[in-house]
Assembly symmetry: D2
Homo-oligomer: 108 residues x 4
Amino acid sequence: MTEPIGDGGDQVEVAHHGYISDKQQYLRRLRRIEGQARGLSRMIEEEKYCIDILTQVSALTRALQAVAMGLLDDHLEHCVMDAARVGGDEAEAKLKEASEAIGRLVRS
Amino acid sequence: MTEPIGDGGDQVEVAHHGYISDKQQYLRRLRRIEGQARGLSRMIEEEKYCIDILTQVSALTRALQAVAMGLLDDHLEHCVMDAARVGGDEAEAKLKEASEAIGRLVRS
Amino acid sequence: MTEPIGDGGDQVEVAHHGYISDKQQYLRRLRRIEGQARGLSRMIEEEKYCIDILTQVSALTRALQAVAMGLLDDHLEHCVMDAARVGGDEAEAKLKEASEAIGRLVRS
Amino acid sequence: MTEPIGDGGDQVEVAHHGYISDKQQYLRRLRRIEGQARGLSRMIEEEKYCIDILTQVSALTRALQAVAMGLLDDHLEHCVMDAARVGGDEAEAKLKEASEAIGRLVRS
């Protein structure tokens, strides 16, 4: 499952986390999220209207959920599917772990 | 919507936004949230395990919701309550606006 | 705050819960929700496809949230606003209680 | 996709929907949920205090989410895992479908 990149070394474990293909896209989205968080601070600093701040908090929450859903899809598609093919305890453990992560997303 | 108090000056916009008393606390919490967003970028950058990233996304979402609930409480306590005492269309409008913000929080 | 209706008696407390005007509408919506829950049982009984059942669960959850938002609006509009006009501890207590209910809706 | 069990008959479609082992448990939980919905109607009928009704709505929503998480786990464990072992378009389609169902749960 591990695909060493470059000369390997301590990066050996790098490549098998499924989101690698979209890494730049995730980093862009997270930079935007960071900017939104900074924007919230500025709105509080400037004492903008509460309701407008709440609207921005909802937008930020939705942006985060979209990132989470993307990461989850990548994880199911790569890591969980790979484990499914291997089967046994590994598959079961991966599934249990994914299910708990989904549960946290649903409740948060 | 701005209600100047006293002789105003740079406090002109200040007084009717209920969260002023806790401004520093909100700014601290938002700085922490910004740091959490930066931490997510770092985790993606270093290609940490998806499930660990998802756990951090859930934690960040909960931190944001706690800020939102705090802002909403402040808003209801000050802005909506003040409008309630005045009554009439203003009270109704404030309530409708708060209700829509709550709806966005519930669904996000 | 209590407005006795009819000859009062054990109905004395009836009228001050703000949703009275829409009572029939809420009952209709809840009957539909009950029917949706019964439909879920039937789908399980007949072993329908999981994903189709999950779609119905999401629809039922949204229907419940819509009822909750309606009840909350009514509560804010009547009970909390009335308390706001009275002011003091009563207003504060009503607001705290409403805020906790909103928090439960946001997290559930 | 259909794996007839026993002599088939009208059970032909039975075996590939993963929750069969827990069918009675799901039916019990859904009967309880139906009862909770009926209880909500009764509370509205008797004009109970809004906040108490909202508390029951939150409890019902959580019960529904727990059923949804159970069904999703079963679905991932059986249907998606089986598809993963087969691989190809089927696996991809199952995963996309599951991901969309998760997205609806997260947002609802």
